[in-house]
Assembly symmetry: C2
Homo-oligomer: 274 residues x 2
């Protein structure tokens, strides 16, 4: 079995390392527009070599490049005989672009999103345990080939993922709240942070802003592809923030306590925190 | 030397453990309104015993109870001969209340704020290394006794802290941005988080919301005591968030990229991240 990984950074590199270690593929080739990153991926044993295009004898293609490149690659690979799967943080937005270009989804394209990001990127951040016990959402359509879905599901499980299925538009709404909005808030928060603030940053600041170090190359296309859901999540947040401001301004002790208690109880429901 | 710690939770308990281990005090007594917490602090060897009031032979009193209790304790201890120091996250707001009650600050009261919080609390969270390499801000006034400041500074250094001085109102403005605002944002963000969101929470969500698990007993008085600075920080944030929303709604690729780049570069300036 031969895998081609498009994008040899954190996600693609980690899948390549994990898949190799699980014995899923005999060889792994990379497609990487960034020459230095490609050479680094080879040096680190993530891929056996870098190629310019998907060879005809490949069995599977993993699209792990930034979100806006996924639809163009799926369109370009429409005639490819193997399985194509991706890792983009936006699903409905990507599938709409593919449908607009092809009229329908290629049956052997399995849309996936492993919930295993990091503010780090590149081959140096790749590690074979990245997907261990992480949720992987697959969003197949009625057009999607069931055998391809089963195959890809098996691969994610083999690298440690917990696979579940979801409708693509629902997925995009959920991750708009759980992931895209927090990034937008962290980016916004950091605008007013100056040198004196950094000097007085403690652990809470570090944790809260960690995602704010993420790269624009990754996040700009995510925001743009999932714009309606991100704007809706943002407006929901703004309404709650407006409520918090009013409670504080009015010095409403009971209301503010209940507001904090709601948040705190909700966060404590999250199991297995480190 | 005898120390009395008022509030035997994370901060007070950690200082007691660290001070004992550094040999700063021969014995340490606790004042703790929560009976179970007090017994737990004794069981864990954090304090030698629980008392109802500060004994006359005590040399120092550490106020590590919630922020709104600090000013009343300082007022109550106005006639105490030893050193009094605190750990509240608000300084100017507390000093105003003390001045309102006493007309001036007791000279042997040294206002302190160790930047070493956690969403955890209680004696079970206390650990002697909590202040290692953490910044400790002291905000003495012209009325404050220089020898007392030097003594308290020495204690914080002995438990690993990096002490620096600051004007109390400036301190409150800085921590409003670095600490109080992020907590308010996390509490607000968590309002719209439901069970389905928690099921899809990844590492970014965990880090971003960790401070949102903090207790209302601690945060309600901080927000109220530092209300003007928190509202100002909040309004600064809201303006930036409004800008982000407009950039996204207008699909302004260049503007949004620059916005993310600014945030990301700022966060990456923070050294020694884990």
């Amino acid at each position: 079995m031969r895998l081609v990984v498009i994008g040899t950074g954190l996600i693609g590199g980690s899948f390549a390392l994990a898949a190799r270690s699980a014995g899923l593929f005999a060889d792994v080739l990379g497609i990487e527009p960034d020459g230095e990153r490609g050479r680094d991926a080879v040096r680190r044993g993530i891929v056996d070599g870098i190629v310019d295009d998907v060879p005809d004898d490949a069995d599977a293609v993993l699209l792990a490049s930034p979100s806006h490149t996924v639809a163009p690659w799926v369109v370009r690979l429409a005639g490819f005989g193997g399985i194509v799967f991706d890792t983009a943080s936006v699903k409905h937005g990507v599938l709409m672009l593919v449908r607009a270009a092809l009229g329908s989804l290629p049956p052997r394209f399995v849309p996936c999103h492993p919930l295993a990001g990091s503010e780090r990127s590149g081959p140096e951040a790749a590690q074979p345990e990245l997907f261990r016990d992480r949720r992987v959402v697959v969003t197949p359509d009625l057009e999607t080939d069931a055998a391809a879905v089963a195959q890809v599901t098996g691969w994610w499980r083999a690298v440690g993922g917990r696979v579940s299925a979801m409708a693509p538009d629902r997925h995009d709404q959920v991750v708009a709240v759980t992931s895209h909005l927090p990034h937008l808030l962290a980016f916004s928060y950091l605008q007013q942070v100056n040198d004196e603030h950094l000097l007085h940053a403690a652990g809470g600041f570090r944790d809260f802003t960690r995602i704010g170090a993420s790269a624009a190359d990754m996040w700009l296309p995510i925001f743009r592809l999932n714009r309606p859901a991100v704007l809706a999540a943002l407006d929901g947040f703004s309404a709650d923030l407006h409520r918090a401001r009013a409670l504080l301004e009015q010095d409403d002790e009971t209301g503010l306590r209940s507001f904090i208690d709601t948040a705190s109880a909700r966060r404590r429901e999250l199991p297995d925190d480190d």
